[in-house]
């Protein structure tokens, strides 16, 4: 098959997958729906993380702060009787404003300093969530009005995930993406050639906050209960980032592949060994860091597969644009 036929084959497969996803709720497989929901959450977080972490090169280990902010804002508003859509939207606004505000001081740090500081931001939020008991319910967490939102949440999350991948792809092929890449490659030179780096760093952070906070709102609406460790904890903070790095940071397909790969591995390992999950995570991280920090998509094996199938676009400015 030549390349054109390959591409159409891929598009048909994608269409088929979407069709299957659409009708799944009617097939009475609730476990699968929950599983796909979680997958969608991780996918949204990983891809939105990579906008700042991979395209721009600032590894924002505190990305899940937006998730938590979206979740808590939505939860608080839902309890006040606000309509879910409005609650989600407010969560996004709060997270975006937070991102814009914090970008001013935090982007004065670079490299590992930046990562550590943003990581510390999560602990800070966790403490706030614990201490502001009247607002957030404290360490006991917060419950939202019960209701069976399983199916609606499923659709919303899948749509959000797909939309996030789409946004990421469009970004990578546009002038915006070019700005981010130039900042990653050489921030000083980027400025010397006109890139308004301060503005783009802030914008990138805000853009990345939107899908994360949205999926946070959808998450709490679905599971009807969150607590500080659930949304500001280590697991939700690091999993999407490790997935993005494992798959290949700075690429369009990387985070997607990383999410699928690691979720499957998790399913397999977690059931065999109920303990030491974080240790296994840590070991995976060390191994990836030592042997393939570029991620799966940059390994020779993967490149060979890509050649054969004739797919895979590089994250870069598209001539057609």
């Amino acid at each position: 098959m030549n390349k054109v036929q390959h591409s159409t084959a891929i598009y048909w497969s994608a269409a088929l997958a979407v069709a299957i996803l659409a009708v799944l709720p009617w097939l009475s497989v609730p476990y699968l729906l929950v599983w796909i929901f979680l997958l969608a959450v991780y996918l949204t977080l990983a891809v939105s993380y990579d906008i700042v972490g991979g395209y721009m090169g600032y590894m924002n280990l505190g990305h899940s702060v937006f998730f938590g902010l979206g979740a808590y804002t939505t939860a608080i508003l839902l309890n006040e009787g606000v309509h879910p859509v409005l609650a989600f939207g407010s969560g996004v606004v709060v997270a975006a404003c937070f991102g814009a505000l914090v970008s001013l001081p935090i982007f004065r740090l670079r490299g590992a300093y930046f990562s550590l500081a943003t990581f510390g931001l999560i602990s800070l939020m966790g403490i706030l969530a614990n201490n502001l008991r009247n607002l957030t319910g404290g360490s006991g967490g917060i419950s939202t009005p019960p209701g069976d939102h399983g199916t609606a949440a499923y659709y919303l999350s899948v749509v959000t995930a797909i939309a996030t991948v789409f946004i990421s792809r469009q970004l990578a092929r546009s002038k915006f993406g070019l700005a981010l890449f130039s900042i990653r490659e050489d921030e000083e030179a980027a400025r010397a050639f006109g890139t308004p780096t301060t503005m783009y760093k802030c914008l990138a952070l805000v853009v990345s906050s939107v899908p994360a906070s949205l999926i946070g709102g959808i998450y709490v609406w679905n599971v009807t209960y969150i607590s500080p460790p659930a949304v500001f904890g280590l697991e939700i903070a690091l999993s999407p980032i490790v997935m993005a790095m494992l798959g290949g940071t700075g690429t369009i397909a990387g985070p997607v592949i990383g999410v699928f790969f690691l979720t499957l591995v998790q399913e397999f390992l977690w059931t065999k060994m109920p303990y030491l999950h974080l240790t296994m995570y840590g070991i995976i991280m060390v191994l990836v860091g030592l042997f393939m920090p570029g991620g799966l998509v940059r390994t020779r094996l993967f490149r060979a597969i890509r050649e054969r199938l004739g797919i895979g676009e590089k994250a870069g400015y598209q001539r057609g644009n």
Binding site: G57, M59, L61, L104, P105, I106, R108, L109, R110, G111, A112, Y113, S115, L116, A117, F119, G120, L121, S123, L124, I127, L128, N130, N131, R184, E185, L234, L238, V242, M245, T249, Y275, L276, H277, L278, T279, Y281, G282, I283, I284, M285, V286, L287, V288, G289, L290, P293, G294
Partner: protein
């Protein structure tokens, strides 16, 4: 001065000294390796653990423990360097940050989790006490004073080491100009290993003192590393004086926050300080560039 303010000051200074010691270790390891070790807090935690075991199992007092721990952790640190950090040091510059964060954070998680697995209960501190002193009518814990003195002595020894010995000078040379140091023949890899061992030992020492005052759980590592970052940013990278002063500021800030707002809020102090310094003076109080 009222009694509790003095206690507050001493407590704050002490905490600050502990932070400063460990933060300085982080600072020199970064200066020499160009990698920020996110697992640094784990050495403190392990140091606390070791001190506890030595105290409970063998009746070793903390000060002796601190001295004994130094060589042990120098070796551990060097091992850590050779296994995890040396392999990534030749990665190309655009892969190095990702690789270093993955490796050090991964190590941190694994260490924490494994420790938590084998050690279920939190270490509620070493019950080592000395009779309190009476200075000018104020009762001060002599244990705390002694620790403070010990830390000061350690800082002086460190300063001498860095200024007078060959290795110390090599460390400073690499920190200031890596390429220049290479050109004059400084053996980068072995100096890096020793530096890292030293950094680990300093953190472990800090841990010994930490556990005489506070409860230690396996998960304190990462929040502590964030605090060290705050100290380093406050005081400026690479400066011993800066780390000490930064540590003292943070220690006092935390003690005051705990006193006036409650212990729940004291971890916030580090972060508020960090953000403030970043806005006001990004290069730190003693640093030369951000």
């Amino acid at each position: 001065m009222p009694d509790d303010v003095i206690q507050l000051l001493v407590g704050g200074l002490l905490l600050g000294g502990i932070y400063g010691l460990a933060a300085f270790g982080l600072s020199i390891s970064f200066g020499v390796l160009n990698v920020l070790n996110l697992a640094h807090g784990e050495f403190l935690m392990l140091g606390s653990l070791a001190a506890y075991c030595a105290f409970v199992g063998l009746g070793v007092n903390p000060f002796l423990g601190a001295v004994l721990i130094i060589p042990v952790f120098v070796l551990i640190g060097m091992g850590f360097y050779h296994v995890l950090l040396r392999p990534i040091s030749d990665k190309p510059p655009h892969q190095l940050p990702v690789a270093s964060i993955l490796v050090t954070l991964g190590a941190s998680l694994a260490i924490e989790d494994l420790t938590a697995f084998f050690w279920e209960r939190p270490i509620t501190g070493i019950a080592y006490s000395l009779p309190p002193l009476n200075i000018g009518g104020v009762v001060v814990s002599s244990l705390r004073l002694l620790i403070l003195l010990f830390i000061c002595a350690l800082a002086v020894v460190l300063q001498i080491y860095l200024k007078k010995t060959f290795t110390g000078k090599a460390i400073r040379a690499i920190t200031q100009c890596r390429d220049g140091a290479k050109v004059v023949g400084v053996p980068i890899a072995s100096v890096s290993a020793i530096t890292f061992g030293l950094a680990a030992a300093l953190a472990a020492c800090a841990g010994v003192f930490y556990v005489t005052l506070f409860t230690v759980t396996p998960v304190i590592g990462i929040p502590l590393t964030v605090k060290y970052l705050c100290v380093v940013v406050l005081g400026g990278m690479g400066s011993l004086v800066g780390s000490v002063v930064g540590g003292l500021i943070l220690g006092l800030a935390e003690a005051m926050t705990a006193y006036y707002l409650g212990a729940d809020w004291s971890p916030c102090a580090a972060f508020i300080l960090l953000i403030s310094i970043l806005i006001i003076r990004p290069s730190g109080l003693f640093g030369s560039n951000g």
